[in-house]
Amino acid sequence: MRIGVFICHCGSNIEGTVDTATVAKASLDFPEVVYATDTMYACSEPGQDGIIQAIKDKNLTGVVVASCTPRMHEPTFRRAVERAGLNRYMFEMANIREHVSWIGKDREANTNKSVDLVRIAIEKLRRDAPLSPSKFSINKRVMVIGGGVAGIQAALDCADGGLQVVLVERESSIGGKMAKLDKTFPTVDCSSCILGPKMVDVAQHENITLHAYSEVDAIGGYVGNFQVQVKKKATYVDWTLCTGCGACMEKCPSKKNPDRFNEKIGPCTSINIPFPQAIPKKAVIDPTTCRQFVKGKCGVCAKVCPTGAIKYDMADEIVTEDVGAIVAATGYDLFDISKVTEYGGGRYPDVITGLQYERLLSASGPTGGHIKRPSDGKEPKNVVFIQCVGSRDKSLDRPYCSGFCCMYTAKQAILTKDHIPDSQSYVFYMDIRSPGKMYDEFTRRAMEEYGARYIRGRVAMVYPKDGKMIVRGADTLAGTQVEVEADLVVLAAGAEAAVGAPKLAEKLRISYDKYGFFMESHPKLKPVETNTAGVYLAGSCQGPKDIPQSVGQGSAAAAKVLALFSKDMLESDPQISRVDIKRCVGCGKCIITCPFKAIKEVEFRGQKKAEVIETVCQGCGLCTSTCPQGAIQLSHFTDNQILAEVNALCQS
C-alpha cells in the first residue's frame, strides 16, 4: 500500500494548538506512508485538488486526512479520492479538531495526540478493502406521520410534486394544535380561516391517502423501501357511510364527557365529531364512556344514524403501507400545569392553560367565543397571564424555552381587550422573546395599544379568595411585591414532546433528545434530516416552533423527499456485516440480536447458515459482537481493524 497523509490546519482551528507540520513529519515514519503534508483547508477546493494531485503524482493507494469530524467531511473526502481514481473506502479520517485542538490548549500534548490518532487511522487504512455499493430501486411514495400544520404542509407539497402521500394522524381529524387556536400572531388572522382550506386540500387531493384515527404500529425496511404497519383504531362508525351530519351527536344521551378537542373545558357526547371543520368530518365513539359499551344497552346513535354507519363490533385494523420515505411531523404536547402546585393548575377551575384559553376565545369553542371563566361562567375583568410555566425551569427539568409562549400571550392579551373592552390583562414574564418579523412590534402593541400590564417577575403563588384568584409575585424591576386579584389565570404552559414521541422515534430508528424531541442530523446544516436515511422531520416534533417555522419545515422536508425521489435507484451502503459461511454454525444468535431484522436463516448444503440482507443491515455491529464464532464481520470495521487501532494506540 502507498499511503498519503494530509494534516489540515482548518485555518487556525487546528493549527492554533496543533503543530500540523510536525504531525505530518511524524506520519512519514509510519508503515507504508510515502507522502505526508500539512494543508490549510483540506476540504476547500485547492485542498481537495492537492489530495487528488498527490494521489496521481505519488501513486497513492490509500489516504488519511487528519482534520475535523467525519460526520462533516468524510463524504467530501471520499468523493475526492474517488475522483482521483481510488475506491472511496480506501480512505480514513482522524479527528484532530473536535477530539484534539478544540478540547486542549497544550500544543505539545495536542501534537502528540494528533500523531497517535493519525497512527491509528493508518493502521485501520492498512486493513481497508475496496467496497462497492449495490443499487436498489425505490418506492416513490411518502408517509407523513402527524397531521398538524407542519405535516399538512409536507403532505401537500409532496402531493403537488406528484408523489403519492400517505398521511397518518392519531386523532380523528387533522389540524393539530393550530385547529384549536382562535387567532394567530403576529397578524391576528383567524386560525381556521387559514388552516381550513389547507385541510380541505388534503381531503381533496387525489395523491393523498389519509388515515385518521390511526397510529404507526411497526416499521420495517429501509430508505426507499419501508413497510409501515398502520393501526387504524376502531371508531365504531363505518366512515365510508358516515356523512358527518351529526344526528348521532344530537341524540347521544351520554353528554357530559370531557371534550379533548376543547382541552377538557367543555363537555362532549360519547359519539363525537371534534369540530365543525374537521377533516375527515366523521364521528367516533369513545367506548370508555359510551353507554352501549359501558352498560351494554343504549344503541341510540345506531337508531338515529340515517346511513346505518354505527358498528359497535368494529375492531382495530392493521393496514400495511409501502413507502420510500417518511416525514415525522408529530408536533408537541403541553406541559402538565398541575406539576407546578403553587399555581393551582388542575386544582382551581379558574387556572387554565393558554390552549384552553384559545378554546374560550374561539367562536367554535365551548362558550361560543365569549370569554366565560370555567368556575361560574362569569366574564372575567382581570386576567392574569403567567409565562414560562414549564419552560426555562431547571427545577422542573424543562430548561428550554418553548419559543411561542411570549407571542401567544401577547396575542391573548390583545384578544382579551377586544372581547372585553373594560378588562385588564396582567402578564408576568421572565423576558420577552419576540425575535421574528413583526414580532417585537406585536408584543409592544399588546402593551402600548392594548394596555396589558407587563410585570417582570416570577409568581410565587396563586390561591382563591372570595371568588377571586389572588396572584402573588415579585416585580423585579420595581423591586416590590405585587398582588393581583384576578378573575381568571392563564398559564402559558410550555411545549413538551408529543405523547409517545420516544416510542415512535424507536420505531423510526431516529434519535431523540432527553426531552423526547426528535434529533435532526445537524442543528444548522441538516435541520430536517435525521440520521436514518429516508426519515425527515417537520415542525415542532423537533423542538418548539411557531406556525411559520413549522410550515417552512414542512416544505423543506417535502423538498428533501422530492430530491431523494428524483433518482430511480439508490446506492446501498457497503459498510455492512457479512457472514463467513465456513465459520457459521447456524446457531441464529445474530438473527435474534439484530435490531433491524437484517439477518435471515438460509440453507447451505443441508446446513443452517446466517445471511445478511444487504439493504436492511445498518452496520450497527451488534451481530459481530454476538457471534461466538467470529463468523460475522462488519465490513470496514472488522475485529482485526479495531484490534489494530487498539494496538496502535497502546504501542504509543
Binding site: 440480536t593 435490531p595 467470529g630 475485529d639
Partner: protein
C-alpha cells in the same frame, strides 16, 4: 431391579434408534471413571452411576450434529444440555436424555488431599465404595472413609438441581436439593474480600502458572467455537501466542465473557485444569452479575432466550433513561 439396572434397560430399549448413548464407565483405576460411548448392549452393561461420574457428558453433544444420540445426565449436566438447546447448538429431536437423581460427585483434589493426609498415595488405590453418604477409598492396603459432604465438589454443596431439569427417561424419584436456595459461595466471597491490587496479584500468580493447555476450554460444554476459538484464530487476531500472564488472563477473561449468562457452572473448566487454577470463579462472578441484572440463570428453561443473546430496547433492570 436396582435403579442402575433399570436405567440400563431403558437405554437398551432406546439404543436401536440412536447413534450412541453417552455415559460413564470404570476408568484406568478404581478412583477414576471415564466417559463411555454406548453403541451395543454390551457397552451399556459397563455403565456406572455414582460420585465418580465427574465428567459432563453434554460436552460431546455438539460434535454429533445431525445424528440422534442419547446422553445420561446428572442434574448439572442436564442444564448444559438445556443451554445447548436454548442456543440452537443441538436439536431437541436429536437428543434423548436419561437421568437419575444425583447426590453429588467427588472432587478428586479433595480426595487426594485426604489420602495424602492418611499417608497413602492416590496412585495405589485398589478399591472405592460408596453408600450415598460416605466414600471409602482403599489404597496401600488401608481404607479411608470420607464423608461425601466433605470431599464432594464445591458445586454439589450449592446444587439446586439434583434432578435432571429436562429428561426423556428419568429413573428413581426426584430428590430435594441438599443446599439452601442462596448457598454461600466461598470462592467468590474470598475474592470479593480482596482489594483490587490483591485480586490482580491473585490472578497474576495463577496465570503465571497456566500452561495454556486449553483443557478448561475443551472441557466446557458451552465452548462451541472449536477451530475458530479466539485463542488460535488469526482472523480476528485477538491473542498472540506470547507466553505471558497478560495474554493468558486475556484468554480467561474473554472465555468468561463469552460464557456470561450461558455458563451453567458445571465446573468442568476448573476440574479439567491440571494446574488447579480457580477459573470457575471468573464465570461465577459474571453469572452473579447476570443474575442481578437480568434475574436469569442459564440452562434451566429450554424456551428462555439468554439475556445477552437478544436485543431489547429497554431492559427491565438497567435504567438508561429516567423518564
Amino acid at each position: 431391579m436396582s435403579r442402575l439396572e433399570e436405567l440400563k434397560t431403558r437405554i437398551k430399549e432406546a439404543l436401536p434408534g440412536l447413534e450412541c448413548v453417552i455415559g460413564w464407565q470404570k476408568g484406568y483405576d478404581p478412583l477414576h471413571n471415564t466417559p463411555l460411548f454406548m453403541r451395543t448392549d454390551a457397552d451399556v452393561d459397563k455403565l456406572e452411576w455414582g460420585p465418580l461420574n465427574v465428567h459432563n457428558p453434554a460436552v460431546y453433544l455438539p460434535t454429533f450434529t445431525g445424528k440422534k444420540v442419547g446422553v445420561v445426565v446428572k442434574g448439572c449436566d442436564s442444564r448444559s444440555v438445556v443451554e445447548l438447546l436454548q442456543e440452537n447448538l443441538i436439536n431437541r429431536d436429536n437428543v434423548v436424555i436419561f437421568g437419575m437423581p444425583c447426590t453429588g460427585v467427588i472432587d478428586l483434589s479433595k480426595v487426594k488431599a485426604r489420602l495424602a493426609g492418611a499417608g497413602v498415595s492416590a496412585g495405589t488405590v485398589t478399591a472405592v465404595t460408596d453408600d450415598g453418604k460416605t466414600v471409602s477409598v482403599t489404597a496401600g492396603g488401608q481404607t479411608t472413609a470420607m464423608p461425601l459432604a466433605e470431599v464432594r465438589a464445591d458445586k454439589c454443596g450449592r446444587c439446586q438441581f439434583p434432578n435432571a431439569v429436562l429428561a426423556d427417561a428419568y429413573v428413581g424419584d426426584p430428590i430435594a436439593p441438599a443446599a439452601p436456595a442462596a448457598a454461600a459461595d466461598a470462592d467468590l466471597a474470598a475474592l470479593d474480600a480482596m482489594s483490587v491490587p490483591e485480586r490482580m496479584a491473585f490472578w497474576r500468580y495463577h496465570m503465571e502458572r497456566c500452561i495454556r493447555c486449553y483443557a478448561c476450554r475443551n472441557a466446557c460444554p458451552m465452548c462451541v467455537c472449536r477451530d475458530h476459538c479466539i485463542a488460535q484464530s488469526r482472523e480476528p487476531h485477538w491473542l498472540t501466542q506470547d507466553d505471558t500472564a497478560t495474554e493468558k488472563l486475556m484468554f480467561q477473561v474473554v472465555h468468561a465473557l463469552h460464557l456470561a449468562g450461558r455458563c451453567t457452572e458445571c465446573g468442568e473448566c476448573q476440574r479439567a485444569c491440571p494446574m488447579d487454577i480457580p477459573v470457575l470463579a471468573l464465570k461465577k462472578h459474571l453469572n452473579r452479575t447476570i443474575r442481578d441484572l437480568f434475574d436469569y440463570q442459564a440452562g434451566v428453561d429450554p424456551q428462555a432466550i439468554p439475556p445477552l443473546l437478544q436485543f431489547k430496547l429497554e431492559e427491565d433492570n438497567i435504567k438508561e433513561r429516567s423518564w
